[in-house]
Amino acid sequence: MEIIQIVGLGLIATVLILVVREQKPMFAFLLAAFTGLFIFLYIIGRIDTVISMLEQLAEQTGIPSIYLKTILKIIGIAYIAEFGAQIVRDAGQEGVASKIEFAGKVLILVMAVPIIHVIVETVLGLMPPGG
């Protein structure tokens, strides 16, 4: 029952943060960041199951591996950007957090560049020359 452990950890961290925040806001933030990091790293291994399932699926049906790679990269970028942005947001730096999210969005969009390239080339190739 990992969920109980994680929720327990979260609750304890919350209580401690509330207690500490009055005296030392700095330590409260550090505690929050550490708790977030711990839960993230603790549970990131579980995504492994999902990813291996996706890989198996892709292998069985024979879709090009580049698709799966792109999709996994999107998931990774989204998670990392979201996680970093939330820690920064906890510290009260809304501006920096939104910049991190922006960077994540841009990087996800950049993943689409080769695909768009092929589609556009094909569509242009469909046009009759000189038409």
Partner: protein, 227 residues
């Protein structure tokens, strides 16, 4: 035909399944919009794949190639801040380089001055001096003087100023160890043993005297040979 159709459909279904799972996995709404666009493009590519294959050949390789090229470009353009260690290493390298250049310049200057002095004292021309500085560049480690053989003969015959004198190169090499002068003297005596016989004692003393008076170089550090 049916095989091809079922393969195509299977591809589409798989990609759409993948897209659904990605939607579930994504952390928040803001990212979802962007991810959906990319996943939608992939679905579109899969649906269009027979058409694309018909008109543009095998496109998977091209997608992969451009993806890899883009990754390489991104990796190479990544702005890297040099670490402090790298900076100090670079500074060390630059200062070593500068010291080496200064030392070689000093060696050349010293050598040319010594050549002039030796030439004037022996009354010959064309002697060549090679100066080696010690590691820290503050002391002369060794001098190698090469005098022309003919000049040496003239000197012996007592006609140093005759016009037919050929240049004599004297090689004087002296190794000076700052810490243990005894060890260095040993080394230099060994070096002296290898000297060619053609250098007379008289020439040697003249050269050694010149170098000692001019630059304070001990005879041990000097190596003389004829060309």
């Amino acid at each position: 035909m049916l095989d091809w159709l079922s393969g195509w459909l299977r591809n589409i279904i798989t990609v759409i399944l993948l897209a659904a799972i990605v939607d579930l996995l994504l952390p928040n709404k803001a990212m979802q919009r962007y991810a959906r666009l990319v996943v939608g493009l992939i679905v579109l590519l899969t649906i269009l794949s027979p058409l694309i294959r018909l008109f543009a050949g095998d496109f998977n390789d091209r997608v992969e190639d451009s993806m890899n090229a883009w990754e390489r470009a991104g990796a190479s353009s990544t702005a890297q801040m040099p670490t402090l260690q790298q900076i100090s290493k670079e500074a060390q390298r630059l200062s070593n380089e500068r010291q080496r250049q200064a030392a070689s310049l000093a060696e050349r200057e010293l050598a040319s001055a010594m050549e002039q002095e030796i030439d004037s004292r022996l009354g010959s021309e064309g002697s060549v001096a090679v100066v080696k500085l010690s590691e820290d560049g503050k002391k002369i480690a060794s001098v190698l003087v090469t005098i022309a053989a003919a000049a040496a003969e003239k000197e012996q015959s007592g006609e140093p100023n005759s016009s037919s004198i050929q240049p004599v190169d004297i090689a004087v090499s002296v190794s000076v160890d700052e810490v243990t002068s005894a060890a260095s003297s040993d080394e230099s005596t060994e070096v002296k043993d290898e000297e060619p016989e053609a250098v007379t004692a008289e020439q040697k003393s003249v050269i050694e005297q010149a170098l000692r008076q001019g630059w304070g170089i001990a005879p041990k550090q000097i190596q003389i040979r004829t060309k």
